[in-house]
């Protein structure tokens, strides 16, 4: 199996001419167009074309901001007429929100471009501004120099911990891609996710929208979903994968089923789902054949019968009794319990559901981890958390709280330059071509670009995770599971 160090990263810049600037450089009338700034700025903010008398307008997004003042090439200081000034760009306020701040989005873009966490020190990209949950938890690193070499550290986790003779699937980094159906995202997005999962020896998930033929080369790294609408579920799709996921509910719209608006149900989407083009498609909630753990077991047995080697994952949202549901899934024979908290999600969901229904993932991880432990089932289950895991630090915190690994969705989309404008569902769909099946919009990027951006972002997360483990003196990410003693809460731990 390929170790993370064998993954090739490559610089993959933005598809757009400009990026969203954090700073604004103002050039006053005092400027005499001498070109000193253009000569001194190594980032290319200032430009004076040969043969032209006037300076070009400053390229704001290239500026590294106030921290530049310690450099001897700082344009504001260098300008002989004091004509330049730097301020925060009002545009930056229109990017991001409490959960995904502008800095976090910018940081993720840099990771997707370079494969490493940003070198700039002016971006708070590890924690958001939501004022709760992960954003109030901090990793508590011990003093002193790390004694372990990074090359000794493993980020691999096993997914089958039942010892039931089924495949011993392991993933090289404790993260995999969330279920986004064909229809909710474009085909290039889906394929790039699968290619990246293959490169990283991890998984991606089809969501509930069928299994596009083009995903077949990546079968070993695809999880196929069986959800309440049973869209696109066939025996052969169950048989070709290593993991089958039952989706009971999803965090962004718990208890409401899946939902694809008619506008996005184009001809190809409809064919895949065996539905009528242009109609809104609802997956009912919940499984109409499941009233009890026994019924649930019957479903899992059915999958196990059709594919004797597959692992079974159960995806649920986070109600008050999520711990009972998890234990029930253990008794029903599932390998993975995947809990999806309310604050995540990528596709269209009612705002009222995202904000108000079911608990945030941070609480649910603790509840499920502890309850599985009390029931003596923790060691036989893989606990995967999703719905609000935005950064490598969130991932590490989720693992400290008791998860084995995480599923991410939004972070992947942001790597593909999603700006989180939230209009995934409207009109022609995603203006940035990520979550659209509109023929023109879905063509806005190619798979090479997208795969590399994802690979780079996964790499940057892995680099951060390894650094965290090194600071804690751990050789494996498995040692981090449930280590709440390594966390502190900025309200309580005082």
């Amino acid at each position: 199996m390929k170790p993370p160090s064998a993954v090739k990263i490559k610089k993959m810049p933005s598809r757009f001419k400009h990026q969203v600037p954090k700073y604004k450089i103002t050039r006053s009338d005092a400027c005499i167009n001498c070109g000193t700034c253009a000569k001194s700025c190594p980032y290319g903010v200032h430009e004076k074309r040969e043969g032209q008398n006037k300076m070009k307008a400053p390229i704001n997004y290239k500026c590294i901001g106030f921290e530049c003042k310690n450099n001897d090439f700082y344009c504001v200081a260098k300008c002989p007429r004091k004509a330049l000034s730097i301020s925060l760009n009002p545009m930056y306020e229109t990017l991001g929100d409490y959960r995904w701040t502008a800095d976090m989005i910018t940081g993720t873009w840099i990771m997707a471009e370079t494969g490493y966490p940003p070198e700039r020190t002016d971006l708070e990209y590890n924690t958001g501004n939501s004022g709760g949950g992960f954003d109030k938890l901090r990793l508590k690193f011990p003093e002193g120099r790390p004694k372990i070499d990074k090359s000794e550290i493993s980020t691999e986790i096993p997914l089958n911990r039942r010892n039931d003779g089924r495949a011993n699937v392991t993933i090289s980094t404790p993260v995999y891609g969330g279920g986004m159906s064909f229809g909710s995202v474009s085909l290039p997005t889906m394929i790039s996710k699968a290619r990246n999962a293959t490169i990283w020896n991890t998984f991606t998930c089809t969501g509930e929208g069928g299994y596009p033929e083009l995903l077949q080369p990546y079968n070993d790294h695809v999880i196929t979903q069986v959800a309440t609408g049973l869209f696109g579920v066939r025996e052969e799709t169950i048989q070709r994968v290593k993991i089958v996921e039952f989706k009971y509910a999803q965090g962004a719209k718990p208890g409401l089923g899946g939902h694809l608006l008619g506008e996005k149900n184009t001809e190809s989407v409809a064919r895949m789902r065996e539905a009528v083009k242009g109609t809104s498609l609802f997956s009912p909630f919940p499984f109409h054949s499941v009233y009890s753990i026994e019924d649930h077991k019957k479903h899992i047995d059915w999958i196990k019968e059709i594919n004797p080697n597959a692992l079974v994952s159960v995806k649920v949202s986070t109600p008050n009794d999520v711990d009972m549901v998890a234990v029930g899934s253990y008794y029903a024979g599932a390998h993975i319990i995947h809990i999806d908290g309310g604050y995540g999600g990528t596709g269209a969901a009612p705002d009222i559901a995202k904000k108000n229904i079911a608990m945030p993932i941070e609480y649910a991880i603790i509840k499920v981890h502890n309850f599985l432990k009390e029931e003596g089932a923790r060691d036989a289950m893989t606990l995967i958390a999703s719905g609000g895991v935005r950064t490598a630090h969130d991932l590490a915190k989720a693992i400290c709280l008791g998860a084995d690994g995480a599923v991410i969705g939004t972070a992947e989309l942001v790597s593909l330059e999603c700006v989180r404008c939230g209009n995934c569902e409207s009109g022609r769909g995603c203006a940035r071509g990520i979550a659209s099946t509109d023929s023109e919009l879905a063509d806005l990027f190619n798979e090479e670009w997208a795969t590399q951006r994802l690979t780079n972002m996964y790499h940057a997360w892995n680099v951060q995770l390894v650094e965290i483990l090194q600071k804690f003196g751990m050789k494996s990410v498995r040692e981090l599971v449930g280590r709440t003693d390594l966390l502190e809460h900025i309200d309580y731990s005082k």
């Binding site: 939501s130 709760g132 309310g342 269209a348 009222i352 945030p360 209009n423 203006a431 809460h489």
Partner: protein
């Protein structure tokens, strides 16, 4: 099975001076290349400044959905975007500026607000923002989902109920069952502002009638033009003027009285006097003061049928002290509910709560905390384009030209808003597996409260460790 309650929404734009969130400005270095017209899928950019097709027109920011395409693809970086100052100034600490955009949108199309890319707000907040509603993985209200053929009832029953039934030796019912009235949504319309134009006032009344709910109005405001809808009007009368309003009382289903200590002592007789005129239900409006729960309990013991607890427009207690010393809606309702439960009289009375009910989610949350139903006023006015400013003092600004808009349009926008709220109520109930809105009342077991869960998980984990 009763006929399904359905609210008929219809797309109803209002061409008035809205405020929008994003502002795009075109810099002087624009070279009129037209790239922005090609990349914007919302058509914010068009040619034709001053009728000149060679020049780009000013961006139409009304349609901007913040996708950044024009910003990032302009070859000269000539476009700048910022949050609109007028937008940021609307509302205040409780009525957030973003709420206005979503209320306007719901009033326009009657649809449940849907967006992608996850939740974007704070983790938790004061009042209703510090609770979540529960859901169930396998229990469901109906066999075919919330949009299915079976009925999920959002109706609530108003009036006094018996604590228990008594029978004689022969098994014959002795108790007299009180008169109650059902309304199909747990929302009534509270007093409108004084300064409303006549078209708006009529539209509010007609919308209440169309929705089959009720609107509270001062007795003196009930003029001939709305008499037709009298069954959906709740007149507020002074308890001293019951005789004067005999005619009115004969034509309505409810009357409302403002609470005073005098009312408390006169209560059984007062209600009796009204009942003699007509079998109507009496609502007593009690301001949410510090001791509101005691007043509500006393009123209930004196036989009150329906009590309307009125908080201020931000859902805060009216006690004259600084903001941080005032209870918020969630805690006021819980205190009232719990007091009645402790006194074992909760089932006997109907509690209406108003004040700070600003979004659809506040309706089920208020009910989970213990209200039977809610009353709203400001969202109805925001639906027709009004803007609210909290600072320096509460002020409502109506769009210019509103008085010329047809009653039908104004009414439809109010109906649309209620349609969207009703659908959202169904979503929340569907997720909880609750099939009757009446059962939401006081069901705190189906709610998750931030203080409790945060303390139970993080508090336990991190506080304990510090002690060891």
């Amino acid at each position: 099975m009763p006929k399904k309650y359905h609210i008929h929404s219809k797309v109803t734009p209002l061409d008035l001076d809205y405020v929008y969130k994003f502002k795009i400005e075109r810099g002087e270095n624009c070279i009129n290349c037209g790239k922005c017209t090609k990349v914007c899928i919302y058509e914010a950019h068009k040619r034709g400044k001053g009728g000149d097709p060679r020049k780009m027109a000013d961006p139409n920011t009304v349609v901007c959905r913040n996708c950044f395409r024009c910003i990032q693809e302009c070859p000269r970086g000539a476009l700048e975007k910022s949050l609109d100052k007028d937008f940021l100034n609307i509302g205040g600490s409780y009525w957030k500026s973003d709420m206005f955009i979503t209320l306007w949108k719901q009033a326009e199309d009657g649809k449940v607000p849907v967006t992608g890319a996850g939740y974007r707000g704070p983790f938790t907040g004061p009042g209703f923002d510090s609770m979540w509603t529960d859901m169930s993985e396998i229990v469901r209200p109906t066999r075919d989902g919330i949009h299915g053929r079976e009925y999920i009832s959002t109706s609530v029953e108003l009036g006094r109920k018996l604590n228990h039934l008594t029978f004689d030796e022969n098994g014959k019912l002795l108790s007299k069952i009180h008169h109650t009235i059902d309304i199909p949504i747990p929302i009534i319309f509270d007093f409108p502002q004084d300064n409303l134009s006549p078209n708006v006032k009529v539209a509010l009344v007609r919308a209440a009638a169309e929705l089959n709910t009720c609107i509270l109005l001062s007795a003196d405001d009930i003029k001939a033009d709305i008499k037709k809808y009298i069954k959906n009007i709740i007149p507020l009368i002074s308890h001293k003027e019951i005789d004067k309003h005999q005619g009115l009382i004969k034509s309505v289903r409810f009357v409302a009285l403002d609470y005073s200590e005098e009312i408390l002592s006169a209560l059984p007789a007062l209600q009796g006097k009204i009942k003699k005129i007509n079998n109507v239900l009496t609502i007593i409006r009690v301001p949410a003061t510090k001791s509101v729960e005691d007043i509500v309990a006393k009123l209930t013991k004196s036989g009150a049928e329906i009590i309307h607890v009125v908080a201020d427009y931000r859902g805060m207690e009216n006690n004259g002290s600084a903001d941080h010393n005032r209870r918020l809606a969630k805690d006021i309702i819980r205190a009232v509910h719990l007091k009645l439960v402790e006194d074992r009289i909760r089932d006997e009375v109907t509690i209406i709560f108003s004040g700070g009910i600003a979004m659809a989610e506040h309706v089920p949350k208020a009910m989970l905390c213990g209200a039977d139903l809610t009353a709203i006023d400001l969202p109805l006015l925001i639906a027709i384009g009004a803007r609210l400013y909290e600072e320096p003092e509460k002020i409502l600004v109506f769009p210019e030209g509103l008085e010329k808009i047809s009653v039908r349009t104004v009414m439809q926008r109010i109906i649309n808003l209620m349609g969207a709220w009703h659908s959202q109520l169904l979503e929340v109930m569907g997720a909880m597996g609750i099939r009757e809105a009446r059962r939401l009342r006081g069901e705190t077991g189906r709610a998750i409260f931030f203080e409790e869960i945060d303390n139970d998980t993080f508090g336990k984990l991190f506080k304990k460790r510090e002690k060891v």
